[in-house]
Amino acid sequence: MTTDVMMPALSPTMEEGTLAKWLVKVGDAVKSGDVIAEIETDKATMEVEAVDEGVVESLLVPEGAEGVKVNTPIARLSGEGTAAAPATPPQAAAASTPDVQEKKAESAPPPAPAATKPAVAPQALPEGDTDIPADAKRVKITVRDALRDAMAEEMRRDPGVFLMGEEVAQYQGAYKVSRGLLEEFGDRRVIDTPITEHAFAGLGVGAAMAGLKPIVEFMTFNFAMQAMDQIINSAAKSHYMSGGQIRCPVVFRGPNGAAARVAAQHSQDYAPWYGSVPGLKVVAPYDAADAKGLLKAAIRDPNPVVFLEHEMLYGHEFEIPEVEDWLVPIGRAKVRRAGSSVTIVAYSRMVAVALEAAEALAGEGIEAEVIDLRTIRPLDHETVVKSVMKTNRLVTVEEGWAPMGVGAEVAARVVEHAFDYLDAPPLRVSQADTPLPYAANLEALSLPSAPRVVEAAKAVCYR
């Protein structure tokens, strides 16, 4: 009896990896728990352990092979077939043979759209965009590295800037955003904290009051709920309450929103939560250029800034201008795609969904204008209003819940400032009004998708 060892998925978002190294050779006996290979993903090198026992019959993928898809057979074990074999029902034992795998492909839930969508190609910039100098050379970089570079540049520039959070130093960041920072800046400025969000957020605010410029990383914003009191009651209000004497130049940053299949307690969009608080600035970038330029601006800002990243974007590559000290001003939205039929407003990862929908709509003769809010507070409604005056139609897209949400706020501002221009009631596309479910099919149903945006856009166009 033989068993195939499959290329494993080592993280919720992994689709393929490099088989960096074989640690066993043909003829070796392995048992469950033995490390048989090393695999590299975009985040890290990891060890693969055997689950079954047996003797290595063949290695099906050579060392160094790149782009090995999850679930392709990488090695074959011949089972010694003693204890395990007879007791294991045939289907389960065969779970790893190719034929059952095909069945699995049919019956398995379709992966959530979030997990499979390729990076949306950077759009040609519309006329009149002043952010990126026309003659600037462009380089490709992931959002993850853009964020890291932003922190590194600001730490070089200002000795008062430091980073603290769970696993930011030795582990290099739970999502590898702080990779290399400990090595460059040492443990005085790149600080691993215990799991104590409420208190380390408070420490960050206190250090900021004393004149430092802390970057407080939350492993994800879900855990910042432990710290919300310090963010809102201390960071946001102290300047006001002190009659302008106290400043809190602190940045709270980390991934926000839904990753893939991590369920209700780990998948929430906090943009509307923080967006409603005066005294805070709230930023939620989409591409690498904005991630870098806005993070640098956030670190320099004399106010507390909540900086919402997205795990699903970390690995995406975008072009970024190669200019020294690349800064993007907080508080300005960006027209990502010009169009005249309908205005679609989105932020963070939902910009990708909006752009995908716009492509599909173009195929049906509807030219959507896609606006990336980039900053949630202060909200640049002027850019949105200007667009709606042209298109007369508004669709908003957000990953969070619709009630009291960002879309509701955008729609209210449009109604306030351009009521007479609207040819249809604005529509909001959002997460279903339930906690995020774990099951793959329900998760896919729950989250906004390009087809749902297309549907909404058509509805406001009465098509």
């Binding site: 998925a9 990891m46 060890e47 007791a87 208190a199 099951a439």
Partner: protein
């Protein structure tokens, strides 16, 4: 209330030695968790389980030993490393595995996943994804027990990393102040993701963490199921007797990564192998049973085969069970009025 001295390590009583039947049951139970978790890891690798999946491999003796102490009305609550606790609590491997694959017959109808499972029937209150939250919740379970005066004890499990959260200490204070019937079990597997206890804790002897609240604490070899049980009996008696909370620090170890996507660079392979070789809770018990003449090779193999087939059957069930109907997206958000 009189101040109590903080208990230190060792000095666990030998009030009661588990007999052959009980030890064999522990052996099977630990083996079931081990094989279940190995299979879960495999299903994750095949893409059948998504999101975060935290395996309990290495820590089996804690859940199994403590569960043997639990009375019928007692409650259990833990964090996201919960599969072993649920199996030990008697939840069916099928329902746990089917929840891992996000299918309708799963313990939470596929809506919770690995980190969020519950069983009202088994007195298992979750399954919580936010580090430390279960400590206050579990103290609340104990508060209800005290309120009703029904003699039930809440068993509250959390990790060495969770032991640094502020709400843990806010809860400790109230638990002792109000003499709540709760046993706090710190599963000290020495790491919180990539951070060792030494790098995160000013007091690394976690059993002393209750001392400024006058909660007695004890260090226990969490790799020895009999030691776990002994300590558990004593702690539960203390709590049930109206004496307030008791704190057990279980020295244990996780063999696998924190979750499936842990590159594991913060410790060496040798460190893991050394624990597996010298302290493995299952092998440890197997040797002891063999030494007593209570287990021979054939019986061990028969138990292993039986456990493997239970797990294989659960995996097959979880692989083929239907997903929730689309309408389930909107159910259970609110309690439906009992019509």
């Amino acid at each position: 209330m009189a101040r109590r001295a903080v208990k230190t390590a060792e000095k666990t009583t030998t009030a009661e030695q588990p007999d052959k039947e009980q030890l064999l049951a522990f052996y099977r139970s630990m083996l079931l968790i081990r094989r279940f978790e190995e299979r879960a890891g495999q299903l994750y690798g095949m893409g059948l389980i998504g999101g975060f999946c935290h395996l309990y491999i290495g820590q089996e003796a804690v859940a199994v030993g403590m569960q043997s102490v639990k009375g019928p009305k007692d409650q259990v609550i833990t964090g996201y490393r919960d599969h072993g606790h649920m199996l030990a609590a008697g939840m069916s491997p099928r329902s746990v595995m089917a929840e891992l694959t996000g299918r309708f017959p799963g313990a939470s109808h596929g809506k919770g996943g690995s980190m969020h499972m519950f069983s009202a029937e088994a007195g298992f209150y979750g399954g919580h994804g936010i580090v430390g939250a279960q400590v206050s919740l579990g103290t609340g379970l104990a508060m209800a027990n005290r309120y009703r005066d029904d003699g039930a004890v809440a068993f509250v499990y959390f990790g060495d990393g969770a032991a640094n959260q502020g709400q843990v200490y806010e809860s400790f204070n109230m638990a002792e102040l109000w003499s709540l019937p709760v046993v706090y079990v710190i599963e000290n597997n020495q790491y919180a993701m990539g951070t060792s206890v030494e790098r995160s804790s000013s007091e690394t002897h976690l059993y002393r963490r209750g001392s400024s609240f006058n909660i007695p604490g004890e260090e226990v070899d969490g790799m020895d199921v009999s030691a776990v049980r002994r300590a558990g009996v004593k702690a539960a008696e203390h709590a049930r007797g109206g004496n307030g909370p008791y704190l057990l620090e279980m020295k244990t170890y996780r063999y696998r990564g924190h979750s499936m996507s842990d590159p594991g660079k913060y410790r060496t392979r040798e460190e893991i192998d050394a624990v597996r070789k010298t302290r493995d809770p299952i092998e440890h018990l197997q040797e002891r049973l063999e030494g007593q003449g209570w287990l021979d090779e054939a019986t061990a193999r028969a138990i292993d085969n039986e456990v493997k087939s239970v797990v294989a059957e659960a995996a097959e069930f979880a692989r083929t069970a239907p997903e929730p109907e689309p309408k389930e997206l909107f159910t259970d958000v609110y309690v439906e009025a009992d019509a």
